[in-house]
Symmetry: C2
Subunit: 221 residues, 2 copies
């Protein structure tokens, strides 16, 4: 019998994107909530290099790094495709996924958690530049890959759900429909998808968590 | 007729890994040397987001990011495989490639170009930790994927050729066979491969280039 276990954290966008892929493929799995302050021996054994969630364990074999897990799920299980089939379209999807999960996410996170004054405006400008690139890419599109949610959308999953909660917790607003109309339209489409909507963390819990973090890091007083 | 053009820089490890993949597949291509101080309109049009080399242009369509180009070449052209076929082995290869081309390369570059004194020892320690992980992974192996050079080896191509030249230019030695015996054995194997050996930049030219850079950045005086 196939055994699929996901070591993750319910509030993490990285874990949630893997769960999305498992649901798209119709794979039954056991979710194991990790305590990041006290990581389980299974997590440390399964990911000795990075010691990070998520880790997918399929018949005892660990797969690490959320975007790599997504490619694995697409290749190892039957069901609807996560990546396009055409090599060129796959390369385009991987390019945008890398940009959104890398440079863009780093800039957005830094801006969201930046402290008032000092370099804050410069840090926010960098995030705006990244988000403008994404906004342009989404012009005239429902999702990144066309009419169906896919690999790139899920690589960007931090933006439609997590960003808005951190904005509320820190008072540091980045994304408005005036500045990024196409991005905001995509965020609405993304959150309306049933596979996404039914698989989001609890908003109130996340808001309390981020408020506590904002206080601890002196982002708010 | 298939037209394949590679916009790159002869001295760049990122360009060279794409050339390696094209040679493995036996794809005929035109190499277009870019001047990074004065980028061509073709490069800027083909990679408007990152404005970086390498870009592979296949029948007029641009593919960006060297590791994504490698996956594209593997999927779009006939010939020997670059990535393993099995989904789990592919995930393992992608994990190590991401680590080597990301965290590990960043730490090694920072250490190589660090200035004497101050934080240098701490910066070097971080690089040593990364290299130790790689050294352990290579224990008892000829190449990362077994007996044949592949995706992961090429993701690490900066280490066997470029590192040693930068070490000579800056006097900042990181890799010794006492510290990293498995890594050093792999470096020798890698440089002995005919597809690699016949496709390396000119060592003297690279040394002059890095010496000039070391002087300009006050790494040496």
């Amino acid at each position: 019998m196939t055994e699929v276990k996901l070591l993750g954290v319910g509030g993490s966008s990285y874990s949630r994107r893997v769960e999305w892929a498992l649901k798209v493929k119709g794979v039954k799995y056991e979710f194991v909530e990790e305590d990041l302050q006290n990581k389980s021996p299974l997590l440390l054994e399964s990911n000795p290099v990075l010691k990070k969630i998520p880790v997918l364990i399929h018949n005892g074999k660990p797969i690490r790094e959320s975007m790599i897990i997504l490619e694995y799920i697409d290749e190892a299980f039957e069901g609807p495709s996560i990546l396009p089939k055409d090599p060129y379209e796959r390369a385009i999807a991987r390019f945008w996924a890398k940009f959104l999960d890398g440079k863009c996410l780093d800039a957005v996170r830094e801006a969201l958690w930046s402290k008032f004054g000092g370099e804050q405006e410069k840090i926010k400008q960098e995030a705006y530049e990244m988000l403008k690139i994404v906004d342009n890419e989404l012009k005239g599109k429902k999702f990144f890959g066309g009419n169906k949610i896919g690999f790139v959308d899920v690589a960007a999953n931090y933006i439609p759900f997590w960003v808005e909660i951190v904005e509320e917790a820190t008072g540091n607003v980045l994304i408005t429909s005036e500045k990024f109309p196409n991005l905001c339209a995509w965020m609405d489409e993304y959150l309306s998808c049933s596979e996404v909507k039914e698989n989001l963390p609890d908003r109130d819990f996340m808001l309390s968590f981020f408020k506590a973090k904002a206080l601890a890091e002196n982002v708010i007083s």
